[in-house]
Symmetry: C2
Subunit: 405 residues, 2 copies
């Protein structure tokens, strides 16, 4: 229940499923419910890794655990992966219980699959799924290392509906492997395998606003029940998951708007916090290295209330020098985004307007009109930059083609 709730929270922010069941759901138990027209996915859609191909491993941490499929779709679009769907068949489970998402070029592994015990096992240990001791870091490390070496692995499956550890599925390496979950770089050995790390940081206020809205309005919970649920989860989250954000290469932080009073958390202030690593230049607004705030709504761009406010500037994030880009509010139209894009630097885009073009590919997806969509897209471009740098290959931005040329 805790897990499912967290996933739904992210859906509200546009950080979660684009696979919304607008048509037929096949099994609601399936983590990757897909539309009827998408049922033709099979494993042969996966691009085989060439002999000289490197596997780039990306870590995505969030409270939700897994389910950030809008973000994954944005990412696979950028890598030319036009087909995105659940891993189409493990050994004999028919693919319907999988947490693994694949495209032509990318594989997204949910780290819940590395839970050490199933739900009944945790009743014995008395620990929550948030605790480090409930993760099988040894196996996680071994299998991610093997994937990086181009080897196929038999990965366990954690069934979120009945809380069981199901029979493993075969995962074949692709040029990009993304691991998402609660503890992608909690373990130092796993951390060393990751080429880039992204932390999705939903503030307590926003988590609370969304939870109240959904659990009270839709499920009939009392405010006390909602508050208790939030408080119950906090200590382990803050002990085992939260600290990972301190060292992430990029953090996408979702906060309440400062433009107006919005207790429902519908208008978001989203910040992209990027480490100044030297390897990859952080995105900035107008002028690298200086502090800028910008309200683009004015004489040229007419935005409806409460408008949009952006900001950018160097800052400290725990022990690291970072650059922060911020967007409060949301676009009325994607033309406004095109206008904003012109004034962003170091976006790693391959042509003018690529961010807007990428966002248009996911026009209806949640978060597209606010900072979460914008920064997910920017981070996706950054990951492409990481991939190109580490693999020595170029991703063709003009067509939806597989990665390696």
């Amino acid at each position: 229940m805790v897990k499912t709730a967290a996933v739904s929270l992210l859906a509200l922010a546009g950080l979660a499923s684009a696979f919304v069941p607008t048509t037929t759901n096949f099994r609601s138990a399936n983590r990757w419910t897909i539309k009827a027209k998408d049922t033709s996915f099979t494993r042969n859609l996966m691009m085989k890794l060439g002999a000289d191909d490197k596997v780039i491993l990306i870590g995505v941490a969030a409270d939700s655990g897994c389910g950030k499929s809008t973000f994954m779709r944005r990412l696979t679009n950028i890598f030319g992966g036009s087909n995105v769907g659940p891993l189409g068949g493990g050994f004999d489970n028919g693919g319907w219980e999988t947490n693994t998402l694949v495209s032509d070029t990318t594989t997204v592994i949910c780290l819940d699959d590395y839970h050490a015990n199933d739900r009944s096992g945790r009743k014995v240990t008395g620990r929550t799924a948030l605790e480090a001791a409930e993760q099988n870091f040894d196996l996680m490390y071994e299998q991610l290392k093997a994937l990086k070496e181009g080897k196929t692995v038999a990965k366990p499956i954690y069934n979120h509906v009945n809380g069981t550890l199901d029979r493993p599925e075969e995962v074949v390496p692709t040029p990009i492997v993304i691991v998402e979950g609660l503890h992608p770089w909690y373990d130092a050995r796993v951390k060393d395998l990751l080429d880039y790390t992204i932390y999705l940081d939903i503030s307590d206020e926003i988590k609370r606003a969304w939870k109240i809205q959904r659990d009270m309005a839709e499920r009939g919970w009392t405010l006390e029940q909602v508050e208790a649920e939030i408080e119950k989860r906090k200590p382990d989250f803050n002990k085992f998951v939260g600290p990972q954000k301190e060292v992430a290469d990029s953090v996408i932080q979702v906060l309440p708007t400062e433009l107006t009073n919005d207790p429902e958390g519908k208008i978001l202030r989203v910040r992209l916090i990027q480490k100044e690593t030297g390897d990859y230049q952080p995105v900035y607004l107008f002028d690298q290295g200086s502090t800028v705030s910008w309200i683009p709504c004015g004489t040229k761009l007419t935005c409806s209330y409460p408008g949009i406010k952006l900001g950018s500037g160097p800052d400290r994030w725990f022990d690291n020098a970072v650059n922060v880009v911020e967007m409060d509010g949301q676009f009325d139209k994607l033309e406004e985004l095109a206008y904003v894009e012109k004034h962003l630097g170091n976006t790693a885009s391959k042509y003018d307007g690529e961010i807007t073009a990428q966002m248009l590919k996911n026009k209806g997806a949640p978060g597209t009109l606010n900072g979460s969509g914008l920064f997910q897209t920017i981070v996706s471009l950054k990951i492409r930059e990481v991939y190109e740098k580490l693999s020595g290959k170029k991703v063709d931005a003009s067509v939806k083609a597989p990665v390696a040329a």
Copy 2:
């Protein structure tokens, strides 16, 4: 006393005399005391107006009345006037009592010369020099109209030292004629003659800070005396002078810094408020029409405390749509200005870096390191743009040559 005090206040802001008596003063009574090496000025330095030349008339209003010679020097530099000095000889007064400043291309007339009565006359009327009834607007209008028509006039001289109206001096029209004083567009007829209007708006807080600093520290006044002097001047100023700022094409507003606590008024927040007339595009920072704030000090530019903060955006100024550019703080070095200049648009500069180059010509002048120097220079470029548009001539920006080509 009131007048002299006001002039000195402006000197502190860098809005006043660059002709500081660093070497020999010839007569302290002279409004335009000049250095020994400059004594060769004679009237034949003035450029004769060609048959097809237009006279462009610019109005500069300020509490000081007259004495903004740093501003005038910035302006004459931009117009290629390399020689700036007092009008060198009226009928027989030897030029030493003149308030008129001339360069190769420009003439600066102090409107105090159009006082209706001398000091003893005002004792009879009981009015202050700030009152409209104490100005001879009929003569002001007639003579400025004549100058615009290319005619030479015999302008009265108001002697600021002994408060007398001295024998008139001959003023020959030049391509640019600037009238500065308390009431340059109080009279509707005179206002209609002006091609561009600039109001220098020193805030009450700054006036007060400077006055306290000077009159208490240097003249031994009590705080009560200083306050009384300020309060005495206010009603007439607010009635007859202040309202002109509501309709100025450009206002340079000098305010206390918001970066730190500075009761002495040494660090200034200066705003350039430009009317959206349609004829001339206002200067902006980064992105025309939107609201931007910018702290350039950061990783690239290292500024000492309290640094620099700039801003830009559309606003309302009384009944008019305006764009405001603001600078708080001061440059440590002129390289910082060069960096800032790159991000300003619509400056009417003729080449990249012209603002910085122009400010380097007046490197030691007061105000060069803060917003007053920057915005004086920008307004000077704007006046060049006005001149070029109205005269149909081009000013050569590459050399210090006379205006008309």
